[in-house]
Amino acid sequence: MSRPVRFNIHPIEADIKEAVGVAEAPEGYAGEGFFTTQLSSVVGLARKNSMWPLPFATSCCGIEFMATMASHYDLARFGAERVGFSPRQCDLLMVMGTIAKKMGPVLRQVYLQMAEPRWVIAVGACASSGGIFDSYSVLQGIDQIIPVDVYVPGCPPRPEAILDGFIKIQDLVGQESIRRRNSEQYKLLLNSYGIE
């Protein structure tokens, strides 16, 4: 069906000034011709605005993610334009859907193949806690096998919720200390999952 004419007679001119956002500069000391700041803030700024998500979608939450990626909700607005399907190139593992116990080792393998720094977001009730599938065959939350940074509740969560979870990940990425991945604490965390 063609679009009714009445929608087209007074097209609104886009206000480009409002539409284009520029990331805020980190705190620092500015003078004439120079600017000093922490390395971690600059690295965090760059990382958080160019995340490469790896979608690990197994069920209905994956369908919601497809909507999130598509033009209406548009995850690309947050710098996650490029969804990769190779764990070697990605830095955000998005687990969406029920993970059966038999799928557990596969998910773990995908996580191990990702290079540091890497983040994990568990989208939906099943990935976070097993959801309604309190059953002998379903993993009761992916945090039993890999560390998770952000949980998105919902069954399935709406695209807004996934975007909110993504923004939370961006906050984590932006504030992360550049030495965190080398810290003793982080090693202990990985060791508690049997990863060295």
Partner: protein
């Protein structure tokens, strides 16, 4: 001659003798119970006899009835005569202490995976099966999850408070 439940019943009784089977009929579908050591002979007869010709194995599954002492497990075969479009259900009972049943893989290739699934969930030991190992569950699983003594819910979970679910 059309294949009816009565005619199937007569042919089977003529071949195996009176009192060999227990027949019943549910929703128009003939169901028969056979002794567990004779399951292959009955399947073979149902397959070979040209007037019966039950040559398609629709399904194999098991049922666990803990209150039925000595016959806790039953293996159920669903057979189909594709020419006459007649279906048949055959049950074989076995005790849970000694759940050994002859495999139907020599007769039906499709029985291979179905029997593996039945083994996986109920622990029925199909004697003579070429590759009797778990098919759907994780290999490390050390129990048969669809037996009634095992609760459906995952027992490894510690964060669920029963009171929140109204069963405290």
């Amino acid at each position: 001659m059309t294949l009816t439940n009565d005619s199937i019943q007569q042919k089977l009784t003529a071949q195996f003798g009176e009192g060999f089977f227990t027949f019943s009929e549910q929703y128009g579908m003939l169901s028969l119970e056979a002794p567990k050591d004779q399951n292959l002979k009955v399947l073979q007869f149902l397959y070979d006899e040209p007037t019966l010709a039950f040559r398609f194995l629709t399904d194999i599954c098991a049922v666990h009835e803990p209150e039925n002492e000595g016959n806790e497990l039953s293996v159920v075969y669903h057979l189909h005569n594709l020419q006459a479009n007649v279906r048949l259900r055959m049950k074989v009972y076995t005790s849970i202490q000694d759940p050994r049943i002859f495999t139907a893989t020599r007769l039906f290739e499709s029985a291979n995976w179905m029997e593996r699934e039945t083994y996986d969930f109920y622990g029925v030991n199909f004697v003579g099966h070429p590759n009797l190992k778990r098919i759907l569950n994780v290999d490390e699983m050390d129990y048969f999850p669809l037996r009634k003594e095992f609760p459906l819910e995952d027992q490894t979970r510690i964060d669920k408070d029963d009171q929140m679910f109204g069963r405290g």
